[in-house]
Symmetry: C3
Subunit: 341 residues, 3 copies
């Protein structure tokens, strides 16, 4: 399938990273991450160039990572600085690949492509994660045996929530919601308004509405290439302006491990029921149920039916509600074609 | 390997099917089956043409199946009749493939090939399943990780029972039994007579003979393309005519899920010990033991040794007792060659 | 990858073999071994030429093995001697391949190549296994999901013990140990001396030294093509001659099952703490811990990172300490190239 290389992927939540090496496969490559003594995050190929051992099983000694197999040590620039077999001769060919890393918005971002094309302006904006006006769930992460593109398809068309998540995330007005969609080179923005439906459970359990209340329910989303997805869902009493309502922001950060597996990290921040732990826990449980018991089995069955065939080759029927998801597929196809050329 | 497509496969026992959708992979294709409100069985591709979701996870609403992912509804002819995103516009390209289905002899038969070549005369005869003069075991089904052709080989040469099932199905006279075999285009019939051996356990547990009794033991079988196998086994005191003895009819209905997995459905009907549940249960247990503990591990080991190679490419030694099994392989090769041409 | 065929592999420890057939996959081939009534070991292909059944599931009757599926019997030369379907006609094409076998030094050796190239002089010398001056651990065997060449690499460079087995087999002087290495056509000998380090646990638990004692620690090893490895490790007080110290001999006998799995058989014989069972048990436990908890996960991770690529294609950094391992790889490459030609 081919992954976009000149792009920022999420390597970890900030809180996952310490001076204890962290192993993470990303678009098929083995990567090890750790923090230097000054706190800065670094990323190297998780494979010693000598006998291909996993560096993450080694120790970090004075900001250098020591191979657990034969003891070679590499500095944060990937250069061999210690050779236990001959301390005077550091093998000059023993160079480990390094990856540019940026820590921002409590996320460790990693650049998987050419060093000379690194562009920090391409890091998507998740600055709201730093905003104390929200009450957040804990930083979540799950590994799914799924092609990340099918998860993106799923997220880009929330109308499915009416059918797949009727008791949790969706309401019966969703299929008929109208959207406005905009595509840029590396970004798709889609704003959906579902008019006059029942308040979804995700809001009623937090007291933002009562069960049975009629609401306008908005879903504003943004996809950033290659695989980050931001969502704001909110409700307001039918016909009333948004600022009389409540909303939840969420980050859905996908990191393809390889062609068949994806790490899905997510976080929710809400504008209501602040500081009430039971509501935080309940909301996280509702979301986890929808993701794990409803979305994942559905996408797994889709993937099984596609049986390795490409999406467009299967000539899918395209509906009005597919517009944003198709925009993402077109944007990715264009980016991949440009990268290859 | 290639499957015969213009052929009837067993999709289910009648009793497996209700208005609750049933998912069944058949020769590599995902199929969903359900009954309409008038009881008629229908079969469609188990894949929505929109986003390739598994239709069998959806609901049947007024004889139409609703996709569980985005709510499109398809009628028994596979035509989209409801589009929740735009009720006035039913997507004209949203057509699901359908499969001809016939319900007969408590079996749901499905035609996997060209619609214009459907031929109900090719459905094998299992009318004895409707005959009240037999006492039947319950409708059984098991999934085996086996190439269905090796199961057919196993069934077509029952002489193996002397060695593989000595305490259950076979007796010591089997290897020397004589057969008469006949091959037609889509049918092989083989009649075996094993003279003057001890009555097999399958008969003694039902009181059709006593342990140690000497009997003539007949095995009359019929294979119908592509993968149905009918068997009558009977005993009579050595040298006596068959109508002084007892027999058991059985159906062995194989449905290849894909190249490596097969559903094996079977049913036994006997002429003796009528209405005694413990004997029915005991007989089913004897057969299940032979199939699951003896045949399946043996065929698994054979398959492992073949390691994906074709049977004839391995230049097998052919014995007299292989005649019927070889006829089946030849008949299938001819049918497949014709279908390809 | 290709295996060397004209070579002796270890099929079993002598004590594993009886008149009960033993199944063993070797370099991708199914083999069955058993002892005749006179005790002699024989090896045949573990696949009946009729229907490819596993012969090892059958019985040995008068030194012949009877197929468990249809009862054909084969003698130790692989010739069909009994055909239950027609006792007068033994199918002449029913010939099972046999393998030359030699039992020596409590090991069953098998020749996997051309019969006319069998050469008993190529069987490596493990006569010390018969020597009563050693106290032995029990005959051990484990199956690892590893390419056997990576296990050989591991064994041929013991300097890794300093980093991977610091609390069991290695000491801190190993990386700097000096070696002399010699390569012959089918043999590599390497003698390593690690000067003035702490006595390794493997010796202190047996009382050959006290914890903290300074010792010279030698590791003399021999690899024999394709996959047998002999090791003598010993300690003597720093600067003293070897005969004032103690040593442990060990056999490490690798049998590739196929490209991804290897059976690792091993045995240790020591010159000290004779006849003390607790020390034998403790020593075996130390070695098993190092092999199973340290070596195997490390090599598994290396193999995962190699992802099916060939060692040289990955352009490994070569260190001084790799010399003997590289000699083995070169010797094997030469032997394989010659065999192909």
């Amino acid at each position: 399938m081919g992954f976009l290389r000149n792009a920022w992927y999420v390597a970890a939540w900030s809180q996952e990273l310490s001076d204890n090496p962290l192993s993470q496969k990303i678009i098929g490559e083995f990567v090890v991450l750790y923090r230097k003594s000054d706190g800065e995050a670094v990323a190297l190929a998780d494979m010693c160039p000598h006998r291909f051992a996993p560096l993450h099983k080694g120790k970090v000694i004075e900001d250098q990572i020591q191979c657990p197999y034969h003891g070679l040590r590499f500095d944060p620039r990937g250069k061999c600085q210690h050779n236990p077999f001959d301390p005077k001769v550091k093998p000059s060919s023993a160079q480990v690949r390094t990856y540019p890393v940026v820590e921002r918005d409590k996320i460790i971002w990693i650049w998987m492509g050419d060093i000379d094309q690194v562009n920090k302006d391409l890091i998507p904006d998740y600055s709201w994660i730093n905003d104390e006006k929200y009450t957040f769930t804990s930083f979540a992460s799950m590994t799914q045996s799924l092609d990340y593109r099918l998860i993106i398809d799923n997220l880009m068309d929330l109308s499915h929530a009416q059918f797949l998540h009727p008791t949790t995330l969706g309401n019966e007005a969703m299929a008929m919601g109208g959207t406005t969609d905009e595509q840029k080179e590396r970004e798709v923005v889609s704003r959906r308004l579902n008019v006059d439906g029942e308040a979804p459970t995700l809001f009623t359990i937090g007291g933002a509405a009562h069960k049975g209340d009629r609401v306008d329910f908005w879903n504003d989303m943004r996809w950033d290439a290659p695989s980050c997805y931001y969502l704001q869902v909110g409700i307001t009493p039918t016909g009333r302006p948004r600022d009389e309502g409540h909303f939840i922001q969420s980050a859905h950060l996908l990191t393809p491990l390889d062609e068949g597996r994806t790490i899905y990290r997510y976080l929710l921040g809400r504008t209501f029921a602040h500081g009430i732990d039971e509501i935080t826990t309940g909301m996280a449980a509702v979301v986890a149920k929808a993701f794990i018991e409803e979305d994942e089995p559905m996408i797994t069955a889709v993937q099984e039916r596609m049986a390795g065939r490409e999406f467009w080759d299967m000539r899918p029927v395209i509906l009005k509600s597919d517009r944003a998801a198709v925009m993402v597929r077109r944007a990715m196809d264009a980016l991949l074609a440009r990268e290859k050329a």
